[in-house]
């Protein structure tokens, strides 16, 4: 049973990565976060169907696999995807690598515009006119990150 749990979690994670690699090729770069969440749930759906209906694995073992799979996805999303998608530090490193000895072209305006475009495409913000924004109606997926940070700041205050 132990091997089955690990294989189910590992298999689900590989399926999630493959699905993400395929879908990221056909969607707008601004909608990757939304699809990352969708892929997470699509994979859970297939994992549960496969394990419960076809392989007849006990529900406790499926639950254990789901926890392990979720932790793997969390490591990927917060450790790899976020670093590439939104880390300013990584972008600066990439810019300096491309430009050689030149001064980087990355500016505060690029950072702010990019985030506003992402929020608008996710429906978190709405663009009223060319330069004015207001809160959108969609649920904010960044709230999850904020909650985790708040919890950790309580446990690990930095000042």
């Amino acid at each position: 049973m132990g091997k089955t749990i690990l294989l189910a979690a590992g298999g689900a994670f590989v399926f999630f990565l493959l699905l993400t690699a395929i879908i990221f090729r056909v969607i707008s770069p601004l909608r990757t976060l939304l699809w990352l969440m969708r892929n997470y749930f699509i994979t859970i759906f297939f994992l549960v169907i496969l394990c419960a209906c076809i392989l007849n694995i006990p529900y406790a073992a499926i639950g254990f696999s789901l926890v392990l799979y979720s932790l793997l996805v969390s490591l990927f999303v917060f450790g790899v995807y976020s670093a590439v998608e939104s880390s300013i530090t990584m972008r600066l490193l990439g810019e300096i690598s491309e430009e050689g000895k030149g001064v980087h072209r990355y500016t505060c305006d690029t950072i702010v515009r990019r985030r506003l475009d992402r929020f608008v495409s996710l429906g978190i913000l709405q663009k009223i006119n060319r330069d004015t924004y207001c809160m959108g109606t969609r649920v904010n997926p960044f709230a999850i990150r904020e909650k985790i940070i708040d919890g950790l700041r309580y446990l690990f205050p930095v000042s």
Partner: protein, 159 residues
């Protein structure tokens, strides 16, 4: 599973206490995360006598994944850099509508770019050269890893 989570929570609490003691003496170090190794040893000692149980290996993997996730967030928290997404979204709580100029005014070049460039220099990923910056061999390795990831997932370096 319960044992893994229990020992992990115990390690987390000890880590939190240790962190607060160190921060009180203005010591910020990643070495404090070694406390999770002690938790891992305790877990192994408690689990090994029941080595034939189906849930031993998944329990060990669960503890490792919980630890990796926590250490990842801990590094993120210690880094202490301003997160532009959080600042932008928080600014929409008191003001429902804002112009681009107002949002842009929330950030200073130094906070977003200069401090991060200093971090990169501190981590020996780039060096100052003439009027600009140059990437080090350590930095080139990180860029190579990111480039491979970007090719697989068809993602552009965001920032």
């Amino acid at each position: 599973m319960v044992l893994s989570i229990g020992i992990f929570i115990g390690s987390l609490v000890v880590h939190s206490v240790l962190h607060k003691m160190l921060i009180h003496r203005t010591i910020v170090t990643l070495w404090s995360t070694l406390i999770y190794s002690a938790g891992f040893v305790i877990l192994l000692v408690l689990l090994l006598p029941v080595g034939d149980s189906a849930y031993v290996a998944p329990s060990i993997v669960l503890y490792i994944l919980l630890t990796f996730n926590t250490v990842l967030w801990y590094i993120f928290l210690l880094h202490g850099a301003i997160i532009p997404s959080s600042v932008i979204l928080a600014s929409f709580v008191p003001k429902h509508t804002q112009t681009y100029r107002q949002i842009r005014g929330l950030f200073k070049e130094k906070d977003l770019l200069d401090d991060r460039l200093e971090d990169l220099i501190g981590a020996k990923l780039i060096v100052r050269r003439n009027a600009g910056y140059d990437i080090t061999s350590k930095g080139k390795w990180i860029v190579l890893v990111i480039t491979v990831y970007c090719r697989i997932f068809h993602q552009e370096l965001g920032g």
